[in-house]
Each structure stands twice: as structure tokens, then as C-alpha cells.
């Protein structure tokens, strides 16, 4: 079944394929440049948000208040409010940090790596995936910040001249983390922002209200679509994608160093960097689907985020899921093969210890459930995709639970063993960050262009252009290309097009 898709993808077009419920295209419907702008622009400019938007935003706002109340009480009482205590000095705070930052990675993967690989199917999902990255990193950043106990002194982690003669210690992975996460946040914000500049200009020129014209005009910074500006813009965007790619790999590698450099059994493993990065992509794609499926339905974006997008995202999840599962098996093998009493004890602790239910739930969520995505029917079924992605979201959280408290609560000395239990404030903080994430996503959907308008126009242009070539009148001076509705069954180039940035 999968080969059939690849085959039709490679050809210029197979008429009629889109009509039988097996859509094979990345842009459907009779779109023109104008209708693409209308549809995406209207979500921000004229359309009243769907009723569900208000319900979701209100609930999320409520949860943000839960978060704020928790943080206030936490600052008042101290981090002992969380369930962390010797021997588990890290608990849900670090689990959630790693979980959120991992979720962020799919956004950068989609926007940067798929851009470099010239995968044009990313065009309709990259913008909200990038937004997801930034909001996830915001949620992630809260945890280490508050975990310091005195967040008002967090600037001590940055190297700046001061009268305390105090400097950060660069031989510690925790300070690498400060550099990695703050660079990741900054570069993701810049990437997101410059990606939106041409779309801000589109909104500025479409807006009817004076306020919207001024607001979008200000952030468009005077963009006028000049070819000279586009030339520098594309250079900057492409190089930034090239910089973001090693950056995203470095961030989760460095997060994994927080563990791998330590000598705790279960932490000290060389497989951690690639295993963490694959897990991050796995979790991130699950979150893209968790958000994308409802957004696609509510805003009726089925023509822009097609079933084929969902199919490909499911395949990425399946692949990275297998890598992650391989990581689990390697950890078991490593424990046995090391013949080290502590490593063997760790494996026994995972399989038969007090947290064994977490480990089995993890294997079920991340190892077993995603295997249904081998079936093409499952990849085209919205309900199944959504359920699988929810399982993965939970599974990736459990994975960090298995790594952190399960390892920490039983290290070398049985006399210092303990049992980690999260408190109600761990949970209220976690649910609160979910509220913050959801509220930020809701505001993003309302105020910013959720789909990249100019890249969709570019995609449409490529589709109509190769259509014209296919029919032998490519001189292109008759001036009617955009007026023509897109022919049904017509395919974009799924494979990299030779002229992309290559001229």
C-alpha cells in the first residue's frame, strides 16, 4: 500500500485519485493565490473563532491561574512543596522539563530539517509546529527556573562580570543546558518571526481595520515583496534552517548529558544522545498531530493539511518510535551485557521493582500501540491517529519517569533507597503548564497566520507550473495561470524539485 503512494507521488499526476477518499495531494480544492490568502487570512482578520475556541481558551486560562497559584505558593514555601527529596532530588519537575523540550523538537525538525531536505509537504504545517516549539520551550523553561529554588537569582547562571567574583562552572553539563535551552529558545523565536514577515505584510494589506493595519504593518517592518528583499530573505532563511538543524540535535543531546555524564545506573549510558533526540521527534510529531487534528477540523483546513500530510507524519512517528523502542531494548541488553551488579539491579528494578507498572505502561504506549501505524487504513483514520498520538504523549512522559525517579530512588546503597511520589502540587504545576501551552496556542490561532501563506502560494505555483509543462505550453506569458482552478488529481512534486534554490 505504501509503495502505491510512493509510485503515484513520483509521477506528474494521476487524475481522479483525490476523489475516492484516498487523497494523494498536499493541497486540495480549487485554490488560487487569492483563495489561499483569503482562507488563511480570514482566520485572523475576519472570521469569528469557532465556539470551541472560546471554551478551550477559557479552560486554558483557568489552568493558567492554577499554574500561577502553584508558582506563588511554591515561591512562598520552597521546592519541598514538590515531592522531591533525597534520594530523588529530581522528580516531576525534571520529567516535565524534558517532556516539554522534547515536544518542541518536532517544530524545528519540520521547519528546518524538512526545508533542507526540500520536503514541500512541510509548508502547511511548519508555522504552527514552530509555534508549538516556542510555547513548549516556554513551559519547559519554567521547570529548571523554579527548580533552582530562587528563580530571581537565575541570572547567576549566565556569565557576566559581577562583584561576587562569581562565574558559571563550564565543566558541568547543567551549565551547558542553560546555554543550549536559551540559544534554542532565541533561535526558534527568530526563525519563527522572520518566517512570518511576508505573511504579516499580506495581512497588513488585507486588513480592513486601522488597528490591524498598523499592528501587522509594524511587525511586517516595511516588507514590500521586492525581489532583492526576497533574495536576501531566502538566503537568511535557508542558512538559519541550516543552523537550526545541528542546534536542535545539540539541544536534546545536551539535555541527555545532564543524565549521561552522571554516574547513576540508568543515567550513565552512551546511547542517550541519539535515543533522546529520536524520542523528542517521536513525542513532537505526536503533539503536532494532537494539536493539528482538532485545528484542521475546527478551522476546516482539510484542503491545506491533507490526509497525505497525516499519513506522512504517522510514518515519521512509526520510524522514530522504532528507534526509541530499540533504545529500550539496548538498555536492557546493556544491563545484562555489562555484568555490572548495579546495572543488572537497575534492569531488575525496572522490570520487577516498585515502579514496574510505569515500565510496562511505557512499553505498551511507545512500543506496542504505535505498531498499528503499519496499516495504511490506520494512518488515514483520524480517530486512530489521534488516539495513538495521545498514547505516545503519555508514553514519552512515562519514559522520563522511568529514567529519572526510578533510577534515582535506588542507587548504589540500599540504605539510602527511597520511593518517589509526586505531590498534588507537582500535578497542579504540570496541568498548569498544559493550560499555558493551550492558551498560547489558542492566542496564536487567533492573532497570527497559522499556515504559511507565501509558501502555500509557492507550492500552488509549483503545482500549476509543472502542470503547464506537462501539457506542453510552458512559455507562461499568457497571464492566466492563477486564474485557472487547479486541475483535480494533479500532484505536486513530492520529491525535491531541482530548481528549488538551485538556480
Amino acid at each position: 500500500m505504501a509503495t502505491q503512494i510512493t509510485k503515484t507521488n513520483g509521477h506528474g499526476g494521476v487524475p481522479g485519485d483525490g476523489s475516492d477518499g484516498q487523497p494523494e495531494r498536499f493541497l486540495e480544492g480549487n485554490h488560487t493565490y487569492q483563495t489561499l490568502g483569503d482562507k488563511i487570512g480570514a482566520i485572523v482578520l475576519t472570521q469569528k473563532p469557532p465556539r470551541v475556541w472560546f471554551i478551550v481558551a477559557a479552560l486554558a486560562f483557568l489552568l493558567v491561574n492554577v499554574l500561577l497559584a502553584t508558582i506563588t505558593y511554591l515561591l512562598f514555601k520552597g521546592v519541598g512543596l514538590w515531592g522531591i527529596n533525597v534520594p530523588s532530588g529530581w522528580g516531576m519537575d525534571i520529567i516535565n522539563f524534558v517532556w516539554w523540550i522534547g515536544i518542541g523538537h518536532a517544530g524545528t525538525l519540520i521547519s528546518a530539517i524538512l526545508l533542507l531536505l526540500r520536503q514541500q509537504w512541510r509548508n502547511s504545517i511548519n508555522r504552527f509546529a514552530e509555534a508549538m516549539t516556542i510555547f513548549a520551550v516556554v513551559c519547559a523553561g519554567l521547570y529548571p527556573l523554579l527548580h533552582t529554588g530562587r528563580p530571581w537569582l537565575a541570572y547567576w547562571m549566565f556569565p557576566y562580570p559581577n562583584w561576587l567574583a562569581l562565574w558559571p562552572q563550564f565543566r558541568s553539563p547543567l551549565i551547558w543546558d542553560v546555554f543550549a535551552v536559551s540559544t534554542y529558545m532565541t533561535v526558534s523565536l527568530l526563525f519563527w518571526f522572520i518566517g512570518m514577515i511576508p505573511d504579516f505584510a499580506t495581512l497588513r494589506d488585507r486588513a480592513r481595520s486601522r488597528f490591524a493595519q498598523i499592528a501587522y504593518g509594524a511587525v511586517a517592518m516595511g516588507w514590500n515583496g521586492s525581489a532583492k528583499n526576497w533574495h536576501r530573505y531566502e538566503t537568511a532563511y535557508l542558512i538559519l534552517a541550516g543552523l537550526s538543524t545541528p542546534l536542535v540535535l545539540s539541544v536534546h543531546s545536551i539535555v541527555s548529558f545532564d543524565f549521561a555524564v552522571a554516574v547513576i545506573p540508568g543515567f550513565h549510558a552512551t546511547i542517550f544522545p541519539p535515543y533522546f533526540v529520536a524520542g523528542a521527534v517521536f513525542a513532537g510529531f505526536a503533539m503536532v498531530l494532537t494539536l493539528g487534528l482538532p485545528i484542521r477540523h475546527l478551522y476546516n483546513l482539510k484542503d491545506l493539511i491533507t490526509a497525505r500530510h497525516l499519513d506522512w507524519m504517522a510514518k515519521v512517528m512509526l520510524t522514530t518510535g522504532l528507534i526509541v523502542f530499540y533504545g529500550y531494548l539496548t538498555e536492557l541488553f546493556y544491563g545484562w551485557y555489562s555484568a555490572n551488579v548495579y546495572e543488572v539491579a537497575l534492569v531488575q528494578n525496572r522490570l520487577f521493582g516498585p515502579y514496574k507498572w510505569v515500565y510496562y505502561a511505557l512499553l505498551f504506549c511507545n512500543g506496542f500501540v504505535p505498531q498499528i501505524l503499519w496499516l495504511q487504513k490506520a494512518r488515514y483514520n483520524i480517530a486512530i491517529l489521534f488516539t495513538v498520538s495521545m498514547f505516545i504523549n503519555v508514553g514519552m512522559w512515562l519514559e522520563r519517569y522511568v529514567i529519572i525517579p526510578v533510577s534515582l530512588s535506588r542507587d548504589y546503597l540500599p540504605s539510602s533507597w527511597g520511593y518517589y511520589t509526586p505531590t498534588v502540587f507537582d500535578w497542579s504545576m504540570f496541568i498548569g503548564t498544559m493550560g499555558l501551552f493551550t492558551l498560547l496556542m489558542a492566542l496564536f490561532m487567533k492573532f497570527l497566520p497559522a499556515i504559511n501563506i507565501f509558501e502555500m502560494k509557492d507550492l500552488l505555483h509549483r503545482m500549476t507550473h509543472s502542470h503547464k509543462n506537462g501539457h506542453g505550453h510552458a512559455n507562461g506569458t499568457d497571464g492566466h495561470v492563477t486564474g485557472e482552478p487547479l486541475q483535480s488529481g494533479f500532484l505536486p512534486e513530492g520529491t525535491p524539485s531541482a530548481d528549488r534554490n538551485g538556480g
Partner: protein, 191 residues
Amino acid sequence: MATATHVEAPSGPGLYGMIAEFDDSEALLAAVRRTREEGYRNMDAYTPFPVHGMAEALEFEDNRLPWLIFLGGLGGAAGGYALQYYINVIDLPLNIGGKPLHAWPNFIPATFETTILLASFAAVFGMLFLNGFPRPHHPIFNAKRIELASQDKFFLCVEAGDPRFDARGTRLFLERLPGVRHVSEVEDGDD
């Protein structure tokens, strides 16, 4: 084809250029090539998405940005490493578990991050700077229908600064280009 009979008053010095509108990028690309063949040099195209081959057609070349980014990265790498060396070796030498003070592998992660950070700053702010952003107003915004350049129309503006520019002659030339929809004057002035 715009109506050639509609002749506007001869333009004075307050003219930025003459702008022609097209319906699609291929027509615009062909028009740009034709205009250059005619000998015009000072011109720019305005499009809703990046048209590939347009920079080549305009013979526009600007390689400063990649160099700026490279210098940013180089500065980030050298600066990041030097900062760590100064802090952990010179200014605050602490013996941590007998590790060498200049434990260079431990300095690599932060060096890598500062490299990426400064190169990205150079990419973003360099692009904004070279493009002259933020620029609240540009004479091209005086053009009629130019707001469609961010929607679905494609424009070519021959600037008055071009030695061959002549309001009447340039207008007649642009009006004869295949696929052209409208031709109009663009007034100069920043506000």
C-alpha cells in the same frame, strides 16, 4: 493591455518610477528579461512569493549576507571558547575532582551554542539591515494596487534613476510587454 490612449500629465522630478502589473510570475519573469535586454538597469520586481530565477533575471547579486553569517559564527565560536577559558582557567581556577582546568572537551557544548547563536543573530539582523528594515515607508507604496503584491499580483518597477528612463518612452515600452495588465507612475516621496 492597458489603454495606450490614456496619457497622464508629463511627470516632474517627483517620480520614483514606472510600474507594470502582471497576473503571473512567468509573465513577470519574461518581462524582466525583456526590460533588461532593452537596456534598463535600475528596477525591481514585487511578488507575493519568492520567484525562482528572479534574482538572476534582474542580475541582482549580493553575497554579503553569507559572509556576515560566517563572521557571526566565527565570532561566536572564538568568543564563546575564550569566555570559558578566561572564566575557568584564568579568573576563577577551581579544582573540581582533579579535572584539568583547561578541560577543552567540556568547553565544546557551550562553544557550539554560542556559535549557532551569533551566526543566527547575524543571519536575522544582517538580513533586516541589508534590506533596510524596519522601513515604515517606501516610495513603492505610492504605487496604485501595490498592496496586491502581497496577494496575487506581480509587479515590475523601472526606477526613474535609470539612465534610460523616460516617463513617456518607458511607459510605452512597458505597455507593450506581453501579459501586462496596468502601467502607472509611482510618485517619489517618503511620506
